[in-house]
């Protein structure tokens, strides 16, 4: 292997030798200090041999003297390659330039990738990394990996860990989200009342209870305070630790609270009846302008419209085509009986109350109904209100704003 490499580096020629007594040619050449290899006899008066390029002159002069005819069949090796390349300057220049370009380009980061949890805010990670100096096109050695890691952890609270590694021209940011608790769940704050009511039970898991059983509270009143009073040893401990004397209040406060559902049903109602007449129009949108072709005829005093649309964006502009159908309607007023209206209103009010009630709340009183007839926008209407008293957890967390 080494010998082959050596021969290649120094160059060798493949000779065809013709003439009588070729053994003698080999002996003469060997005695003259020439190494010959891969000697093959091709016929009675001909053989092929390989000799170092540097020995060619010596071999030629001794063969001339003895009458052997030699011809070069091939030239192999680096010196011949270099000579051939020297004749093709543009090729060499191109090769050198592309090598240089490759070398220079390999000194830059061309791709930035984010790997890690699926929920990672990838765009934000890339933005922060860019501000910290990691973006496609920066020199590899200009990337301060630890700076980028620090910036990522400082700027993006959700991250628990981040690392930057550079693989060739690719920078990979690996990051992990915090597992478990939302970081906001550790911020200090109070428990306040979510609704008006009469307190029935207070169970403070953390913080100081501010109300007791039987107290009437209004929405927003503090029920369990997150502030630690100065006489509590924790107050001093927190101050000494350089933190404000607040904890995150937590607990359950149940109260008797009222929920209500209310519905109006006018006694005189306007109804729309389609006449069967229709018209069509097409609208072209190039925000904020719309052009319309066709549309409702003047004979349509009242109509309903419905449309099918295709919308998209071109750059920052919204574009769209809307196919609009106009349906002519006739409006007329109908009178409904008070009983019918009351029934409809009651059903609607009950449905509203049920929707309002928290899941699993126990009704302790009611539901009570109030039926009244009043004027709504100048039209007589039946109003039904349904109320129920339930025991529900009214604790709501409110962050302390310092």
């Amino acid at each position: 292997m080494i010998e082959r490499l050596w021969r290649f580096l120094h160059g060798y020629v493949v000779l065809k030798v013709r003439g009588p007594r070729l053994e003698r040619f080999l002996n003469r050449a060997a005695r003259a200090g020439v190494w010959l290899w891969d000697v093959e006899r091709l016929g009675t008066g001909m053989l092929v041999a390989r000799i170092p390029a540097a020995s060619f002159r010596k071999v030629r002069s001794l063969s001339r003297a003895q009458g052997w005819r030699i011809a070069i069949a091939d030239k192999v090796g680096l010196p011949f390659l270099l000579v051939a390349l020297a004749r093709r300057k543009a090729l060499v220049l191109g090769a050198l330039l592309s090598l240089a370009a490759l070398y220079v380009a390999s000194g830059y980061v061309w791709f930035v990738q984010v790997e890690g949890d699926e929920e990672l805010p990838v765009q934000r990670v890339l933005d922060v990394a860019q501000l910290a100096g990691l973006r496609p096109g920066v020199p590899r050695n200009a990337v301060e990996r630890h700076e980028v890691q620090r910036a990522l952890l400082l700027e993006i609270d959700e991250l628990s860990w981040a690392a930057v590694r550079i693989d060739g021209t690719r920078a990979v940011i690996e990051a992990r989200l915090r597992a478990g608790l939302d970081p906001k769940a550790s911020l200090p704050g109070d428990i306040v009342a979510a609704r008006d009511g009469i307190v029935q039970q207070v169970m403070a898991l953390s913080g100081y209870p501010m109300v007791g059983e039987g107290d009437t509270v209004r929405r927003g009143d503090v029920l369990i305070s997150g502030f630690i009073p100065p006489d509590d040893p924790l107050h001093r401990e927190l101050l000494e630790a350089g933190r404000p004397p607040y904890v995150r209040a937590d607990g359950i406060v149940t109260a008797r609270v009222w929920y209500e559902g209310r519905a109006f049903v006018p006694l005189i109602q306007q109804v729309e009846e389609p006449t069967g007449d229709r018209a069509w129009g097409i609208e072209f949108e190039w925000s904020p302008v719309r052009w319309r072709l066709g549309g409702p005829p003047r004979s349509f005093a009242a109509y309903r419209e419905s449309s099918r649309s295709w919308q998209g964006t071109v750059g920052s502009q919204n574009v769209g085509v809307h196919w609009v159908t106009y349906e002519k309607v006739e409006r007329r007023t109908v009178e409904i009986s008070a009983e019918e209206a009351e029934e409809t209103a009651r059903d609607a009010a009950k449905a509203q109350l049920e929707a309002e009630l928290p899941e699993g709340a126990a009704i302790v009183a009611g539901p009570y109904e109030t039926v009244e007839i009043s004027l709504q926008l100048g039209v007589p209407a039946v109003a039904v209100t349904v109320r129920a008293e339930v025991i529900a957890d009214v604790a709501a967390f409110k962050e302390i704003q310092f």
Partner: protein, 108 residues
């Protein structure tokens, strides 16, 4: 007198001396060293030239006689001033003890 001009007695003494001193005898006695690698190669050191070379036979002159390598598709792997290698399928190697001819035979 031996072929290399050294008296036989002197060669015997030199041989004993080389043996007792563990010196390479081919150097001390000017004899060929012939190495075979299976039937693939024959390597001859201290040769005095090729007498005959055909694809089936290579005869090499040495101070101790003529080394004849017979076989198939024989070729000279390399040849230098003092050593040569014959490659190919080697069937037989012989050493003819006798006065080596000075001149190479013409090729067949």
């Amino acid at each position: 007198m031996a072929r290399d001009g050294r008296p036989v007695r002197a060669r015997g003494l030199l041989g004993k001396f080389a043996g007792s001193m563990e010196l390479p005898r081919e150097v001390m006695l000017d004899v060929p060293r012939v190495i075979m690698i299976g039937t693939l190669q024959v390597h001859v050191e201290n040769h005095k030239g090729i007498l005959e070379y055909t694809p089936s036979r290579v005869r090499v002159r040495t101070p101790d006689g003529v080394v004849t390598v017979s076989g198939r598709r024989l070729r000279i792997g390399r040849i230098g001033r003092e050593e040569l290698t014959v490659d190919g399928r080697v069937d037989r190697v012989e050493i003819e003890d006798g006065p080596a001819p000075r001149r190479e035979k013409p090729s067949p």
